[in-house]
Symmetry: C2
Subunit: 173 residues, 2 copies
């Protein structure tokens, strides 16, 4: 197979993290990461537009082929959930407008994929991201989390392909 | 003053209502209303894109100068709030991208402005919308609600202008 470029996105109204990696199905290569922020003193419409413009620029420049986003943890207060939902709407719209498929992963799936256990804490996740992508220097926790989501998607795709190959070979698991 | 064109938006993931009116500061004129729907069987990214494309088309065609949206009632379950938040993010992004200012009104303000009391029910609101804008034939409850939000904004702007005129005349309230 060729190289697949994946963007992971960790949405937030104040700061949305993003991380882009390349994978050939086995190895992972760091491309870039960063975060798009919105001006807390601006109107909500203006802030959503800042996120939209910033993410659109990242996608136009780096041209990922697939996107991955964390399934949002909604067990918080309603006002925070609504704010996050609005930012998440933008974070999903931008890759959708670019014609990308968007995979969603539960927070535990991200932890399990990166750390190897479903209950790794945030520090462990960031240490593993650093280990898997040594060239990455995330500017924020959100950018590191976005890379973790991209890694999760790369792993999930490898497994899917492996299963397909096993099926083709006529091996019953 | 000239005529001001206002779009009211009632966001929802399945169906987002919109209503456009003209006002000269005293009279209200119906322009158009309708709703943009998303395909429930599609992916979330695809659905958000459908709302984005549909609303963008309405704004491009009718060219409102200002937008108004209901402040979302968040005292519901978290999953519903997140869904609504995602749709609401798109509903605010589209006018923001067109450079419109976006006013937000609490549900009670909409009821009070249209029905004259803060606790009018949905049926009363729709009857008053019909009375204030006889030419309007909303295709859905969401379109009628969107017209009510636009009317609320027209009323709020008239009051603001009246207060400014009173202040200019040196009258202390």
């Amino acid at each position: 197979m060729g190289t697949l470029r994946i963007i992971g996105i960790d949405p937030g109204l104040r700061r949305t993290g993003w991380g882009v990696i390349d994978t050939d199905g086995v190895r992972l290569g760091f491309v870039a990461c960063g975060s798009v922020t919105s001006d807390a003193s601006g109107s909500l419409g203006h802030r959503l537009r800042q996120l939209f413009d910033g993410l659109s620029e990242v996608l136009a420049e780096l041209a990922p082929a697939e996107a991955a986003i964390e399934q949002t943890f909604v067990n918080r207060d309603a006002v925070a959930t609504l704010k996050l939902g609005q930012a998440r709407g933008i974070a999903m719209l931008v890759p959708a407008l670019a014609g990308l498929t968007i995979a969603e992963y539960a927070p535990n799936a991200v932890k399990k994929s990166v750390v190897g256990a479903g209950h790794g804490d945030k520090t462990q996740i960031r240490a593993m991201v650093k280990c898997l992508l040594p060239r990455a220097v995330p500017d924020s926790a959100d950018a590191a989390d976005a890379l973790a989501i991209a890694i999760t998607h790369a792993h999930a795709r490898s497994w899917t392909r492996l299963e397909a190959r096993v099926a083709l070979a006529g091996i019953t698991p």
